[in-house]
């Protein structure tokens, strides 16, 4: 977040022509990898994320086995060519933090107590980054979990709200994040009304927070519908194949 020197909102429209409360073009596909138990490709505009799920399976390390539930492992990783400047492949502090918050955004819906002493592994690769990589990752991981047949209480959908040129806007991209003054990613299990991820990078008043949360909820609802359609499409396709 640096000072907003660039005018990004003009006449109620954003630099890419979107309205304030409009999502980018969202694409989703499941079952894109054969080796993984579940997988998904999710695109929010130019942001592209792949998620793969392995498990429930024997934990990689013995000490990870929990007697009463599955261990959830999660890695968020950015491909070296996904960013403007080439990213070194070693995990950054940012990637380590995001792996944790993404795991904690998914744990509240996974019925992990059904698979004691196992591990459910979620591997996320950001292959092109244009803002919103963590929210696209959560959306993708949730689909990959469903594709792997992991029982869940609900899907988790996620999107960020930003504050740009003084306006609250939905699903900010990289330019808006760079020149905006706040970025608030939110993840929810919409059917349960549970907020499973909330971060704020920037400064807001209490009133702005409430507005931003409502904007995020509206976006999440739309994404959730696309998730459900994507899964339905897969099931139907499978049936047709029979």
């Amino acid at each position: 977040m640096s000072k907003g020197k660039v005018k990004l909102i003009d006449n109620g429209l954003r630099h890419d022509g979107r309205k304030l409360d409009e999502l980018r073009t969202i694409k989703m596909e499941v079952g894109i990898l054969k080796s993984a138990n579940g997988s998904a490709l999710v695109e929010y505009g130019k942001t592209k994320v792949i998620a793969a799920v392995y498990g429930p399976r024997e934990p990689q390390m013995k000490f990870m086995a929990l007697p009463n539930r599955a261990t959830i492992r999660c890695r968020y990783h950015m491909a070296s060519f996904s960013t403007h400047e080439r990213k070194s492949p070693a995990p950054t502090r940012r990637e380590i933090e995001l792996s944790k918050v993404i795991r904690e955004a998914l744990e509240p819906v996974i019925l992990s107590e059904l698979y004691p002493r196992t591990s459910i592994d979620i591997f996320i690769e950001v292959i092109n980054a244009d803002g919103g990589t963590r929210t696209a990752s959560i959306t993708a991981a949730s689909l990959a979990l469903a594709d792997a047949g992991i029982p869940m209480k609900d899907l988790v959908a996620s999107v960020a709200v930003g504050k740009v040129d003084g306006y609250l806007v939905l699903d900010i991209d990289e330019i808006e994040d760079m020149y905006g003054s706040a970025d608030m990613p939110v993840a929810m299990a919409p059917a349960l009304g549970r907020i499973t991820l909330l971060q704020l990078n920037g400064v807001l008043t209490s009133e702005e927070f409430i507005q931003a949360l409502n904007l995020a909820k509206a976006g999440i609802k739309q994404i959730y519908e696309i998730q459900k359609e994507t899964l339905k499409r897969k099931y139907l396709t499978v049936k047709v194949e029979d």
Partner: protein, 281 residues
């Protein structure tokens, strides 16, 4: 790679029921009210070799923060600003489950949440930390050492960072040829410039109850926590839901409101602790 924590603190899960029952009556197992912090003590100027420092005791939790100013090179996108670098280490002295090694995800999350609160609120005036604009700036190293862990490391660290920054004295810097800068730490030319005060307030959720400043036992029983970064002018300068559980919308609103209220109290305590420190005039 992040995974579900497997080193459980030795708190019997039975205790959870007792705790929930008592929380329903507005008190905690440790006798505190739901919105009550443990006693807070902050000693500044504790480390002679640091340029600023603070030892914070929050109940039995102890955190030591040290600041070092060194000559560095600015980042291309902020050529005239000093570099703020915040690290946290959970020392093996602090807990039977901490081992030496590079910071784990918890230490990294702690450092990054505090960093965002300070950076986004512009608490430190980094523009005052240029030495040769575009070429040489101060590196402002903030190192957080957790010495004793009895819960709520982040609020203890966050208070310690602010207290240490507020009492940091900038050493004399002489600019030579070829962008060389010679530092003389025996002479202090100014206080580090603080724009505003910011701290975190941690609100833990246990069952349906929200309580501040969870101790280690409460952390082992909680569902999740919300870390609210709060400025002295009453703004939200950062949020982080942490832990495997969730919040409802209503709980979030309540937690943020608690955060804004308690933040004022904590900032007053930090400001008080800073009074005792000698000032560079």
């Amino acid at each position: 790679m992040s995974f579900t924590p497997t080193t459980e603190y030795l708190v019997p899960k039975l205790k959870l029921e007792t705790l929930l029952a008592i929380l329903g009556r507005g008190v905690r197992l440790n006798g505190r009210r739901l919105d009550e912090y443990r006693p807070i003590s902050i000693i500044t100027d504790y480390i002679p070799n640091a340029d600023g420092s603070a030892l914070v005791k929050l109940g039995n939790t102890q955190v030591l923060v040290g600041i070092k100013l060194e000559v560095g090179t600015p980042y291309p996108d902020t050529p005239n600003d000093g570099n703020l670098i915040i690290n946290a280490e959970f020392m093996p002295t602090a807990s039977p489950i901490f081992e030496p090694g590079p910071p784990d995800e918890n230490a990294i999350e702690l450092a990054r949440v505090i960093d965002r609160g300070i950076r986004e609120s512009r608490a430190v005036d980094l523009s005052k930390l240029a030495l040769i604009p575009g070429k040489r700036v101060w590196n402002l190293w903030v190192d957080i050492y957790v010495l004793d862990h009895d819960g709520n490391l982040i609020d203890a660290s966050s208070m310690g960072v602010l207290a240490a920054l507020s009492t940091t004295k900038v050493p004399k810097a002489e600019i030579k040829e070829n962008n060389e800068v010679v530092i003389d730490k025996t002479v202090r030319t100014s206080q580090l410039s603080i724009n505003k005060y910011v701290t975190t307030v941690t609100v833990a959720k246990i069952g349906e109850h929200l309580l501040v400043d969870p101790d280690l036992e409460e952390e082992s029983l909680m569902d999740a926590k919300l870390i609210v970064s709060v400025t002295d002018d009453g703004l939200i300068a950062g949020l982080q839901k942490s832990g495997p559980g969730y919040f409802t919308e209503e709980e979030l609103m309540k937690a943020i409101s608690i955060g804004l209220n308690k933040g004022k109290e904590l900032i007053d305590i930090i400001k008080g602790s800073v009074q005792a420190s000698p000032q560079v005039v």
